[in-house]
């Protein structure tokens, strides 16, 4: 297994990543000299206790935030050297992001929230709209809801819109920060199925979760602690929830002290 993983091509390579925040006079190191490869086509899950720096790492990888030190190579190119607008174009082209707090644009409909991203690439409008409708269907968001304004919907509905928005441009890498946090089990399954489907079609997924059931979908689980990769677990390709997979995950998490 270990061997097989190595054959995969790394889409993101992180070297000596450093991220610290200075709050007043104290400097708090969140990510400390972290090295990591994310493989193309992988469903990678990041776990760790609250405040471990999972979101911070995701923002760094997706070019939302600049690290304090170290290098992040995306497809071989160092994105830490990009200028602001280059980073914007980079995000537009390569990354889809489901935020932990979702962050929809107010004052416009859910559909427009998605299209605001979708129309950025210059693709034919009709194709984008069609794909948006398909994705909405897949995450079980009813047609009338799509016309609603982002301030008129429930947390779970918002989360699904966030997911559609992240997927609309078929990004190379989909980042998802606890995308199922606000969903009940039925909807959660539907959403995860969408991710799995996207994964099957070859897109890479990096997801943060606190939920074991969600974690089971991963090819690979990375555990973050004290600003470093504390351990990782390879589960292999997901078919269904089998006992073996569950046992392996439980054992790993126990080792990690979760």
């Amino acid at each position: 297994m270990q061997h097989k993983q190595k054959e995969k091509k790394a889409i993101i390579t992180v070297k000596g990543l450093q991220k610290s925040f200075s709050t007043g006079e104290v400097e708090q190191v969140i990510i400390n000299n972290l090295d990591l490869d994310i493989y193309e086509g992988d469903f990678t899950i990041i776990m760790g206790s609250s405040g471990a720096g999972k979101s911070t790492l995701m923002y760094a990888l997706s070019g939302m935030d600049r690290p304090s030190g170290g290098r992040i190579l995306f497809d071989g190119k160092d994105i830490t050297e990009y200028k602001d607008d280059e980073l914007a174009v980079f995000r537009r082209k390569n990354c889809g992001f489901v935020f932990q707090q979702i962050y929809l644009l107010e004052k416009m409909s859910l559909m427009d929230n998605v299209l605001t991203t979708g129309f950025l690439t210059g693709e034919k409008k009709n194709n984008v709209i069609k794909r948006a409708e398909d994705l909405f269907d897949k995450v079980n968001l009813p047609k009338i809801t799509r016309k609603k304004n982002s301030s008129q919907i429930s947390g779970g509905e918002a989360q699904r819109v966030g997911i559609v928005r992240a997927l609309i441009n078929r990004p190379k890498v989909v980042f998802a920060d606890e995308p199922t946090g606000a969903l009940n089990s039925n909807n959660s399954d539907a959403v995860l199925d969408v991710f799995s489907k996207v994964h099957e079609e070859g897109q890479s997924i990096i997801m943060v979760t606190h939920d074991k059931k969600t974690a089971l979908r991963a090819d690979r689980i990375i555990y973050l602690k004290d600003g470093k990769i504390f351990g990782e677990c390879l589960l292999g390709n997901y078919q269904k929830e089998d006992v073996e997979r569950t046992r392996k995950l439980n054992q790993f998490l126990e080792e990690m002290g979760w």
């Binding site: 602001d84 427009d112 605001t116 709209i129």
Partner: protein, 808 residues
């Protein structure tokens, strides 16, 4: 109270820039308003004070002849070939003396007359050489300043007592505007003779003041006067000055004095009364006050709208905080007070500061005003003005902020915390991306525009009003600086480029020659003569063809075309209650004719006391004119000087005098141009500054409000440039509609505004052109400025990192 103070300090600190912008606008309002009020209060007071201080007469009437004049009577039997003094027959001197004494007594017995004084002087039309670089002809009264008099006293403000040849004391207006210093030589050309004086002093007087009345006085010490009178006995006049009793109407008084004089067969050369004189002399000041007051109102409105907008914005943005504060036990009033307090503090500071600065700027304005007013205007601190400014502005600020902040009272803590908007903020999805065609960035700009509807409305109002302001300035600029003739012809009479006075015999032939000269575009026989109307001397403009004049003075009816037609000035029409169609009789040297009134004329200089006759019409009463006056219009005005030189060389024999009229009107134009330059520049800078400030406040507050939203856009891959365009773009359509809409409306509204302003100074018809081009140009400049300002102000978008939204 302490709690409120802490909150207020927090509010103030948090948005320094916003308060600063608000402060600057308020400062400007206070500054402008204070200047307007100080001028309004003090100009009038200072004028009246000086008027009383110098015991100025309320009515002054000048009649021909004086006690020390060899009294003559026109003798019709004398040979008319040679028009010399021999034509006049000396009558007994005693008679006129008696007559004048008699009149003086009669005047003093008139109702409401407090005091009468009679002074003798020399009155003639003299050309001042090198008056601000040109020759300027003025009707000048030369006084013997050592003759004792109690009314119309002089105040010497500068004096050089060293012995000089022919000392003269000039009134402030000639000294300052004509640029004559103590010790300078001033040359008067009187007919063909040049008389030189040395400026020995500058005086202030309230009798004439400036040339607005078409007449001015200069003052000669006794010896100079005696010397000057020699050979000019025929120009002796008697000045009747009367002081009215309190509250008496000086205009009526003037009328009764003039009719008394004309009944006694005296010919009245000039008559004037205090109110008219004051109006002419304070015209520029009053215009400034009106313009400044209008400014102040506009700027005040802008600042109030802004401060309301700011507070509403704050309430929306900080509803949660406020809810928490309420939940923690702050009262609504406490929070409102904390909101208002910073505005109060900023308000007081900037208002006081603005008032202070206004006193630094006032001297600049005053120097321009006193040049025109012709008296020394000293401005002191005006406590009432300052109080009004402070109370009015602060009151308005408190009132507006309170009304905007009042909402907080109704705010329920739970609404605030849950982020439930109380407003009717529409949840409509305008410019739906799915169904609306068009560029996604344009559509998003549209969405923003809709979301910021209130801000856009504010921007619309402000830019609309600002455009009216700069349109006004633009029109003024155009008519004074670009096409100065428009403005000058409104205030002046017919203005050719050169005036040639020739002997009648030679003139006819020369006229044709001049007409054919290549640099000449037109030649008109045009002269200003004097006729008697109801025994009063009135100037009459005589022209061979009024269709060809460049400055049509007629504002109602038409100019005379036949020899039995006449047009009369508005003042004459009013006094004699003449209507168009009435007839009127004029007399020259005993010969009379009657004419039918066909039109009314206006003239600022002659204050509506003038007539127009065709050449043939005038010849009905005056056949013998030894001179012919030609108004010459050139293709290139700048060549007037060289044309005159050429004419003088060519027609040496025939020419009596020449006047470079072009230079002359340029000089009087300078007086206005200076003021207009200041006004236009001030309006322009002010407009741009206000536009800048308002955009600053709007965009800044939107940036704060939309911080997270912008972060999301960035996170999903929008670039800085795209977002800046979106932000600026959401204001541009509004700016465009407001600015160009206002400019187009201005094309129709400006005439009304200009009519109003001009009618205030007694002009019935003005020649100012409301050029669409200049309106569009100024509007265009404002729009481009708006665009750049909003782009630059949107720059901080660059600083919001995608990550900033996560931090929120």
């Amino acid at each position: 109270m302490k709690k409120i103070w802490v909150l207020a300090k927090h509010n103030l600190k948090k948005e320094k820039g916003q308060y600063m912008a608000f402060g600057i606008i308020l400062l400007m309002t206070a500054l402008i308003l204070n200047i307007a009020l100080v001028l309004l209060f003090q100009m009038d007071k200072a004028y009246d004070k000086k008027f009383d201080e110098l015991d100025t007469a309320n009515v002054n009437v000048i009649v021909a002849g004086g006690k020390s004049q060899p009294v003559v009577e026109y003798n019709v039997n004398i040979d008319k070939e040679t028009k010399t003094t021999e034509q006049f027959e000396i009558v007994e001197e005693a008679k006129i003396t008696e007559r004048l004494d008699e009149i003086e007594k009669e005047i003093s017995q008139l109702e409401n007359v407090e005091k009468v004084e009679v002074l003798e002087a020399i009155f003639l039309n003299a050309i001042v050489k090198d008056f601000r670089g040109t020759d300027f002809d003025m009707n000048t009264v030369f006084y013997n300043m050592d003759e004792t008099h109690e009314l119309n006293r002089l105040e010497i403000i500068r004096e050089d007592k060293t012995e000089v040849k022919n000392p003269i004391y000039l009134p402030l207006y000639i000294a300052e505007f004509g640029q004559f210093d103590l010790g300078d030589t001033i040359v008067y050309q009187i007919e063909e003779e040049k008389v030189e004086f040395t400026v020995a002093g500058v005086v202030q007087e309230m009798q004439y003041g400036n040339l607005g009345n078409g007449i001015i006085g200069v003052y000669l010490p006794k010896e100079t006067y005696t010397e000057f009178v020699k050979g000019r006995e025929m120009c002796h006049v008697t000045v009747f000055s009367a002081q009215t009793k309190e509250q008496a109407d000086s205009e009526k008084m003037m009328d009764s004095i003039t009719s008394l004089l004309t009944d006694a067969d005296e010919s009245v050369l000039f008559s004037g009364y205090d109110r008219a004189n004051k109006q002419v002399r304070t015209m520029v000041c009053n215009l400034l006050v009106v313009i400044l007051a209008a400014f102040a109102v506009i700027v005040l409105l802008v600042s109030l709208l802004l401060c309301r907008e700011r507070i509403q914005n704050r309430i929306e943005a900080e509803m949660t905080d406020m809810g928490v504060l309420k939940a923690l036990g702050y009262t609504g009033n406490g929070i409102i007070a904390a909101m208002m307090l910073p505005y109060g503090i900023v308000g007081i500071l900037t208002i006081v500061f603005g008032i202070g600065i206004s006193y630094i700027l006032l001297p600049v304005l005053v120097s321009v005003i006193q040049l025109q007013a012709g008296f020394w205007l000293t401005i002191g601190f005006d406590a009432i003005g300052a109080l009004i400014v402070v109370v009015l502005l602060l009151g308005m600020v408190f009132f507006f902020t309170y009304f905007a902040a009042r909402k907080i009272k109704k705010l329920q803590p739970i609404w605030a915390i849950r982020g439930i908007s109380q407003g009717k903020i529409s949840r409509k999805n305008v410019f739906a991306l799915q169904t609306t065609k068009g560029n996604v960035h344009l559509l998003l700009a549209g969405k923003n525009m809709y979301a910021a509807a209130r801000q856009n409305l504010l921007l619309f109002l402000v830019l609309f009003v600002l455009t009216i302001l700069i349109s006004f300035a633009g029109v003024l600029f155009y008519n004074v600086m670009v096409e100065p003739d428009n403005f000058m012809s409104t205030l002046a009479e017919e203005s050719p480029d050169a005036v040639l006075t020739m002997n009648a015999e030679d003139g006819k032939g020369h006229k044709e020659v001049i007409e054919n000269m290549e640099q000449v575009s037109n030649v008109l026989e045009y002269s200003i003569e004097t006729v008697q109307l109801d025994k009063e001397e009135v100037p009459v403009f005589v022209c061979e063809d009024f269709n060809e004049v460049t400055n049509d003075l007629c504002y109602e009816g038409k100019n005379p075309e036949n020899d039995d037609e006449i047009a009369i000035g508005n003042e004459i029409a009013q006094n004699g209650s003449y209507e168009i169609g009435d007839s009127i009789t004029l007399t020259v040297e005993g010969k009379s004719a009657s004419y039918k009134i066909v039109g009314f004329l206006q003239s600022v200089n002659y204050q509506g006391k003038l007539l127009e006759l065709t050449k043939e019409g005038y010849e009905k009463i005056c056949t013998e004119n030894p001179y012919i006056t030609l108004y010459v219009y050139l293709n290139e005005k700048e060549q007037t000087e060289s044309f005159l030189e050429l004419a003088e060389d060519n027609f040496e024999d025939g020419i009596v005098t020449t006047v470079n009229f072009y230079e002359k009107s340029k000089t009087s134009q300078e007086l206005y141009a200076g003021i207009v330059q200041i006004v236009v520049l001030a309006v322009f800078l002010l407009t741009i500054l206000i536009a800048l400030l308002i955009l600053f406040i709007l965009i800044r507050s939107l940036l704060v409000q939309r911080r997270q939203e912008l972060g999301i856009y960035k996170a999903i891959g929008y670039s800085n440039r795209q977002l800046m365009f979106q932000m600026a773009g959401s204001f541009l359509p509004t700016a465009f509609v407001a600015i160009f809409g206002s400019a187009v409306l201005g094309k129709f509204m400006m005439p009304t505004i200009y009519n109003g302003i001009f009618s205030m100074i007694g002009v019935m018809k003005h020649h100012c052109e409301i050029s669409a081009g200049i309106l569009l140009l100024f509007a265009g400049v404002l729009f481009v400025a708006t665009f750049f300002i909003s782009m630059v102000l949107s720059m901080p978008i660059k600083k919001i990192s995608a990550y900033a939204l996560i931090k929120e």
